[in-house]
Amino acid sequence: MILSKSKTVKSNIRFKQFFNTTGPLLGFVFVILFFSFSNEARPYFLTFYNFKLIFSQTVIVALASIGMTFIIISGGIDLSVGSVVALTSVVAATLLQYGLNPYTVIIITIITGGLVGLVNGSLISYFKMNPFIVTLGMLGIARGLAKMIADNKTVNFPDSPINILMQTPNGWMPPIGVFITLLLFIIFSIISKYTVLGRYIYAIGSNENAALLSGVRVHHIKTGIYSLAGLFFAVSGLMQMARLRQGDPTIAIGLELDVIAAVIIGGASLRGGIGSISGSLIGALIMATLRNGSQQMGWPTYFQEIIIGVVIVLAITIDKFRQNVNSS
């Protein structure tokens, strides 16, 4: 009797873990199958070239989603992503215009993103301000700064090696940016699961009070999370600039919503404490594939927007269902 009891509970836990990790993946497979079965899309959709395209289209959202995943797991939110991407892309373009060495440009740009995150994080942790409001303010500030630096125009610069990041070489190779993204995902997935810092981020999101009382330096870590996310947004900004070959202060408006959607589709909970880096990568892929597939189907853009909206709501519904399974 007791034996069978522990067995069912154990298999139940296994099932939950299985579902939590593979749920988003199943969604991704489903999306691919859906477009593969359609006669209109199949000839273009299921091609090597197209997947190369999907991967490079995923890069910008995917990189930002690493930072966003940590923020959301810790129970926070960042609405300034799009503006920070625009700001950093303009900063990088301007520096290139001045003729700075590309490595210096990369470093200064990434630091810029980190500083924006540091401001967000400090206000949120040390002054106990609401992350929604702080980053909403930063959304305006960073966008304004980008326009100010760029003098309200696009910033053009002479051809730079940085552009290689998003250049698509001939043949099967996707751009270098895709590999960088993949590498960062692997590194930060390990950090989130197998380091003390990673565990503390989950702990803070699950119960900040308890983490504080257990000696976790909650304020430092939270500030660090927003700063780290800022670094990722800057890398996204660099990719954005490399893709357009110019700095555009009006680019990436509303990008934060795509990034948050990717993280949520990837299984994270806005209440904090739940989510995974690998899930977010799949979330970002699902978003990019949906966009790409809809274009192949020849659906109008408004229809694409509706579909992506439906998928987000669906993801949250599944999450709710999963929580009910967990709690009963």
Binding site: Y194, Y202, L213, G215, V216
Partner: protein, 496 residues
């Protein structure tokens, strides 16, 4: 006399595990019916079936002779069954009368008739004997016992036939319990049937007319209170006798580890001085609101103090904060484990290791095997019942959750343990394990401060007890100089 409410052959299973097994109980109007049993005995599940949170798998319920079924908590309330949960379930930002009338507001022209709301609230509070409660006070600023009163008043608006109270006394001090009991007697006079869930057998003897014992989902017995025999009951609940007698050798304390000198702060603490020595178990007694938790909060750096000094092993320390205090060897068990203690979404392992992963980290990376070995060792020591060390702590019972926090403290290298109500809401068996845990710590030369509203507990486990009254420490004496009455009279400020 016909029973107002009957349970006949109630069964409930969760994924093939029987948690309620063929239960028959009769409840009568105007009686207080205590339901006792350890954590996990099925008390809460049974109440959730009665109030419609769960559906029974079999059996029937009769309310006033008619078949009763409910599929939603609202149905239960409409049929006259109201449950009051262990944790306050009020709208914290609304005031007393708004909370009492919440959901039952009288409306005129679409607007709430606040005049009538106030009148009804005052009338109900009068009936309960609480004329001194200010109906304009915001609920979040009230003590837990006052919030309980508001909840009971809220329940009375619809004139229920049955009120279920889930461990109503677990956060209350002696005086407040007496107040609650006098209120229950008034409800009884009104002919309401009261289901009273508790861990405390002395409360059953004091207040109940009838009692039912549950064990492993089965009814052991349901009897009139005249048949009550506390010693045998413990046997029936747990299947073995538990004596709360902790053997203590005569201890001599010399090395001082912590000293408070004239500390003021937290808005209530005034001029508190005491010394904690190596191996000493130091109890802080007092009513709720006397400042017990506040002393621990100051000590752990959660609240600032503005006067006096605190020294640790002879050295004055300042700018206290939790991470600093843990580093120098002080740990804290919060009073409210779900709010301040546990990360409910996370698993057993992370809940224990938080704050110190040093034992399982190799070159910055956490190794699963080291984790499993380390955690299994700790949970075996504390006898924590888990299905897997990956199990989420929200699935554990209250007693096991409390053990998880004790396990976390064990995982640090601590010299001083601050325990705020360490046995709140845990069953008899866990209580004993916690007492043994404290004794073992003290034998190993660790020092412990316990804040507790439960006087017998302090008398059982402490070496020294100090009584707080309105933020002042009245007297600090070795445990053999105290008895229950003396602590109680000090707590109420009646010095003799």
């Amino acid at each position: 006399m016909h029973p107002i409410f009957q349970l006949r052959g109630i069964n409930k299973s969760f994924s093939k595990i029987k948690v309620i097994n063929n239960i028959n109980i009769d409840f009568f109007s105007g009686e207080i019916h205590a339901i006792i049993g350890e954590n996990g005995a099925g008390k809460s599940t049974l109440c959730k079936i009665i109030t419609g949170m769960y559906r029974a798998n079999g059996g029937e319920m009769k309310l006033g002779g008619k078949f009763y079924s409910c599929s939603h908590p609202k149905d239960a309330i409409n049929s006259g069954i109201f449950m009051i949960y262990q944790e306050p379930n009020l709208a914290p930002d609304l005031n007393v009368y708004e909370n009492i009338m919440l959901g039952y507001e009288k409306k005129g022209f679409g607007f709430i008739d606040s005049h009538q709301s106030k009148e009804t609230s005052i009338r109900i509070l009068d009936q309960l004997g609480f004329t001194d409660i200010d109906i304009y006070r915001t609920v979040k600023n009230m003590s837990i016992s006052e919030q309980k009163i508001v909840e009971i008043a809220h329940a009375l608006v619809l004139e229920p036939k049955i009120i279920i109270l889930d461990e109503p006394t677990s956060a209350l001090s002696k005086v407040e319990i007496d107040k609650l009991f006098s209120m229950l007697l008034k409800l009884k006079e009104k002919g309401i049937a009261i289901l009273f869930i508790t861990h405390f057998l002395e409360e059953v003897e004091t207040i109940a007319d009838r009692y039912s014992i549950l064990k492993d989902g089965k009814l052991v017995e349901s009897q009139l209170i005249e048949k009550f025999d506390a010693d045998k009951i413990i046997n029936k609940m747990s299947g073995r006798t538990i004596r709360f007698r902790i053997k203590k050798g005569k201890k001599k304390f010399s090395n001082e580890v912590l000293r408070f000198e004239g500390v003021n702060g937290a808005g209530i603490i005034q001029n508190v001085s005491f010394t904690l020595r190596k191996g000493e178990v130091f109890g802080i007694a007092g009513l709720i609101g006397a400042g017990k938790s506040e002393i621990l909060n100051i000590c752990f750096g959660l609240t600032e103090y503005n006067k006096g000094s605190i020294s640790f092993k002879g050295q004055k320390i300042s700018n206290l904060n939790p991470s600093k205090m843990i580093k120098i060897g002080m740990g804290y068990l919060p009073e409210n484990r779900t709010r301040d203690g546990l990360m409910l979404d996370l698993n057993v392992t992370d809940n224990i290791l938080i704050g110190n992963y040093n034992n399982v980290v190799n070159k910055l990376i956490i190794t699963k095997r080291a984790e499993a070995n380390h955690i299994n060792e700790i949970i075996n020591y504390l006898n924590v019942k888990v299905n897997s060390i990956e199990q989420q702590v929200c699935e554990l019972s209250g007693g096991n959750q409390q053990k998880i926090i004790l396990a976390r403290l064990m995982n640090f290298d601590l010299d001083i343990f601050l325990l705020d109500e360490p046995t709140r809401g845990v069953d008899v068996k866990t209580r004993k394990i916690i007492y043994e845990y404290i004794k073992n710590l003290s034998d190993k030369g660790k020092s412990i401060i316990i804040a507790s509203a439960y006087i017998p507990e302090l008398l059982t486990i402490c070496d020294t007890i100090s009584v707080l009254f309105n933020g002042k420490m009245l007297e600090t004496l070795p445990v053999n100089k105290w008895n229950e009455e003396k602590i109680l009279s000090h707590s109420m400020g009646l010095l003799n």
